[in-house]
């Protein structure tokens, strides 16, 4: 890389420096997460009831939604309040792909995600004419159009929606297990794919966009192209989540699948967990899920409280709970680099270049 | 003469970078002080701090007999401090006349109104319906000064009036300064242009890297002294601050 050579040419003591990405604290954190995933994979056999297992699919869908919404808003600087367009398209899509085309459920779910990503490409050319808050409402209009069109399309059940029939004749345990493992696998894959993306060149560019989009553009980061990539990927993720929600609930309706409520959930998850980090949305999804399980009986008051908490976090702890906990120093998914003098990697926090 | 402005040993920092180190300065009522220095000497920082856009981390600013260190910028205007900022900062979508009227937002009484500003800068009357976005640099500068005067300040802070302007335009603008002083307004000019600064000022204070290196009556300091202080070479030949 040219930057390395120019550093060397300037006679900076590069050989005395050690560049670390993550290090053992991150490995330890990753190990804990891997252990949790293994536990979740084994759990249905000895811990959870079928009802719990079905609920956990919702958690995995929320992790996917939070992670991909954060990819857009936290890294791409695109605040969408219309991802329910793809949640709905994914939900309806998976039912059509499984029941009409006859794809096996896991293939149909993944294919629904791909379809949503493809739908997002032409849509992005329309929406990217709007910036900032106007982009946000524009995405909502698109979601409304998706909903109205779905209602009007022949064979989509109008206002009452569709039921999934592909699972008919499959026994309940097999069905629940299939959806559970599919959801777990997809949640893990989406998080890992996001991590891989953020460690790539594109990710570096996105981090620059997050910090200052004008400066990033002036340094040659293809802002629009990176944002489009992120939008398409996130929409595919929303499609996956929608497909999982549909095969988990066995039926879809326009009002439930295209509900702006999903956007509220995604925003709470990401904002409360920590915008612009990979860990934040996972933490946020777990907190949100736990609160939902505990407080669901309070109905509207629960949503009022969530709204108030989200506002408080935005104003008082803009980096979210993960930001408060890790203080920017600790990453389970190390995206950035730290520079240490050779030999004492955990002691020094900054380096004197003199 | 009574003291109007007293800047007492202020430190100002942008994050970790300290832009001003213990600057002390006084301006008497009715006089014109020129603060000069090269780029990065801390002149604009000093004016912004006096106007209230920046807060000193140490020291005190006293204006008209009381401490204004913690008064927000918009209230300092009402107490009689006006700044024509670096870069002029004309309101682009407003016409020249609207810019001037906004200057009078605080409704401080005094000699300056649309009529007297137009008399001092006849150019502005011709341009009164033109939008800020369509003004040349010199026109913007005249508007900026007129706009500051509309607040009827006791103390007018002028930041780099000459920056980026043609000499003939600079001369035009400086020609208006005596009129301003005649109406009783105290003026603090910050300049890189020594010649202009020395002609209008009663007193000169020279900054270098955030410290005062030379101070004296404009008539008494020599060009050589000022130049030495300006560039930080042979500062011993100039009269040290204090």
């Amino acid at each position: 890389m040219s930057s390395t050579t120019s550093l060397a040419r300037q006679d900076l003591a590069t050989r005395d420096l050690k560049v670390v990405r993550g290090g053992w604290p991150s490995l330890a954190g990753g190990g804990v997460l891997a252990a949790i995933v293994v536990f979740l994979a084994a759990a249905p056999w000895f811990v959870f009831s079928p009802g719990d297992v079905t609920n956990l699919v919702t958690l995995f869908a929320l992790i996917i939604l939070g992670t991909t919404w954060n990819l857009m808003a936290g890294y791409g600087g695109l605040v969408s309040i219309g991802q329910q367009a793809y949640i709905g398209a994914g939900g309806y899509g998976v039912i059509k792909l499984a029941d009409v085309v006859g794809l096996p459920i896991p293939v149909a779910v993944v294919a629904a995600g791909v379809v949503c990503a493809l739908l997002a490409i032409p849509t992005s050319f329309l929406l990217f004419r709007l910036v900032g808050g106007y982009f946000a409402i524009g995405t909502w209009v698109v979601a409304e159009v998706f909903k109205l069109v779905t209602q009007e399309l022949p064979g989509f059940g109008g206002g009452s929606g569709l039921s999934l029939t592909a699972f008919q004749g499959v026994d309940r345990v097999t069905r629940i297990a299939t959806v559970y493992y599919l959801a777990l696998a997809l949640a893990v894959l989406v998080v890992l794919a996001t991590y891989a993306l953020m460690r790539s060149r594109v990710g570096l560019g996105l981090t620059a966009i997050r910090d200052d989009s004008v400066a990033a553009a002036s340094l040659g980061v293809a802002v629009r192209r990176s944002q489009r990539l992120v939008y398409v990927a996130a929409s595919g993720g929303a499609g996956l989540a929608g497909a999982l929600i549909a095969v988990n609930g066995l039926r879809v309706s326009p009002d439930s699948m295209f509900s702006v409520q999903y956007t509220a959930f995604m925003i709470f998850i990401v904002v409360i967990g920590g915008l612009g980090t990979i860990e934040g949305p996972i933490l946020g999804a777990v907190i949100f899920f736990a609160l939902q399980q505990l407080l669901d009986s309070y109905g509207t008051w629960y949503l009022i409280a969530l709204g108030a908490v989200a506002i408080a976090v935005v104003l008082l702890a803009p980096k979210g709970l993960w930001g408060l906990a890790a203080r920017g120093r600790y990453e389970v998914f190390p995206v950035g680099h730290q520079v240490y003098p050779q030999g004492s990697p955990q002691v020094a926090k900054s380096v004197d270049f003199e | 003469m009574t003291t109007l402005l007293e800047v007492d040993a202020i430190d100002v920092a942008y994050g970790d970078f300290r832009a001003l180190h213990g600057i002390t300065l006084t301006v008497a009522e009715g006089e014109t002080l020129a603060v000069i220095g090269a780029n990065g000497a801390g002149k604009s920082t000093l004016l912004k701090t006096i106007a209230g856009l920046l807060r000193p981390s140490a020291g005190q600013i006293r204006f008209d007999g009381h401490n204004v260190s913690h008064t927000p910028a918009h209230r300092r205007v009402r107490e009689g401090i006006a700044l024509t900022p670096e870069g002029r900062r004309i309101f682009a979508s407003l016409t020249v006349e609207e810019n001037l009227k906004v200057g009078a937002h605080g409704r401080r009484p005094g000699p300056w109104n649309l009529r007297t500003v137009y008399d001092a800068f006849p150019l502005l009357e011709e341009l009164r319906t033109r939008r800020g976005a369509h003004l040349s640099g010199g026109e913007q500068q005249a508007t900026a000064i007129g706009r500051a005067l509309m607040s009827n300040p006791k103390l007018l802070l002028l930041d780099e009036v000459s920056l980026g302007l043609a000499p003939v335009v600079i001369a035009d603008i400086y020609r208006a300064l005596p009129t301003i002083a005649e109406k009783g307004t105290t003026v603090l000019v910050v300049e890189q242009d020594l010649t202009q600064a020395l002609t209008v000022a009663d007193r000169v204070q020279c900054l270098l890297e955030g410290r005062t290196v030379l101070e004296g009556a404009a008539a008494e300091v020599t060009r050589e002294q000022v130049q030495a202080a300006y560039f930080g070479v042979d500062a011993s030949e100039g009269r040290e601050a204090g």
Partner: protein
């Protein structure tokens, strides 16, 4: 004849959209904030008026005299207490805060007034109309359109010719330079929001007099108001009026083709404008 009638009814409906949209336009124009709580505030105004009528039996139109100042005060407080603080964290934060407010508002309304649909009674006025040949013009729709035009003209005059209006435009151009003119930026923003939410309150009461509303109706209000603003052109109040009219006509003409296509036709016109004229129909015509 049906088509001419559809266009005419669309123009009348458009008056309501324009009235609903000008507050959104103003807040964005001055502060670059997209207020996602806009629709909820309109519906909350309708509920407040409804509640006042229920409680006191006062004439429906008189509630405006109470609802506008109350909502303007709410707007001032939201700006001072939340948006001004959020603005310091960048442009994302006000958007998220306003979304949080929208969620809180809609659910609070549901908690207080239940999810049932309501309507503010205006007696005979809701059915009375003037005949124009074969065409019938609803008197109340006509009043709404006239009020919309009056509000937009009034806002325009206020911004152009008053001391506070000038200060608002100056603050919009350069907030820091405005403080050097003795303008308190935070107060000025709060005043702008107060005025904007005041117009939202007026629009909300009119909305509640013309249609059935429920706590979630704010979603549609926000979308329609937004479409009107974008169709007309950002930062232009006249554009917002035109955008409202275009949206209204699109919806009624769409509904004439098939009643199910009304709202969809409005969305499609919005998307077509976005595609071929993203700057809107009347961009930068006037300041605000």
């Amino acid at each position: 004849m049906d088509w001419i009638n559809a266009v005419l009814q669309g123009l009348l409906l458009g008056g309501q959209y324009a009235l609903l949209a000008c507050g959104l336009s103003l807040i964005f124009g001055v502060m670059r904030i997209v207020n996602l709580a806009h629709g909820v505030l309109a519906v909350a105004s309708a509920y407040l008026a409804f509640w006042l009528v229920q409680l006191t039996g006062m004439p429906s139109f008189l509630t405006i005299a109470i609802v506008i100042p109350v909502l303007a005060a709410v707007g001032y407080a939201i700006q001072r207490g939340l948006f001004n603080k959020a603005l310091r964290h960048g442009e994302l934060s006000p958007l998220l805060v306003s979304f949080g407010l929208a969620v809180i508002g809609a659910n609070l309304l549901q908690e207080i007034f239940t999810a049932d649909s309501r309507k503010i009674s205006i007696g005979d006025l809701s059915t009375s109309s003037v005949e124009l040949g074969d065409l019938r013009i609803g008197v109340f729709s006509l009043i709404t359109l006239v009020v919309a035009v009056a509000v937009i003209v009034g806002l325009q005059l206020y911004l152009s010719h008053t001391r506070i209006g000038r200060a608002m435009r100056a603050t919009k151009d350069d907030p820091e330079a405005a403080t050097l003119m003795g303008i308190d930026e935070r107060h000025m923003y709060a005043l702008a929001t107060a005025i904007a939410i005041g117009t939202v309150a007026l629009a909300g009461v009119f909305l509640g007099m013309s249609t059935q509303f429920s706590p979630t109706y704010g979603d549609l209000v926000l979308i329609f108001a937004f479409e009107a603003v974008i169709i007309g052109g950002l930062g232009s109040l006249w554009g917002t009026l035109l955008g409202g009219l275009v949206l209204g006509v699109a919806q009624t003409v769409g509904a004439q083709i098939d009643p199910a296509y009304g709202v969809l036709a409005g969305h499609l016109v919005f998307l077509v404008v976005l595609l071929f004229r993203p700057q809107g129909l009347l961009p930068k015509a006037v300041v605000a």
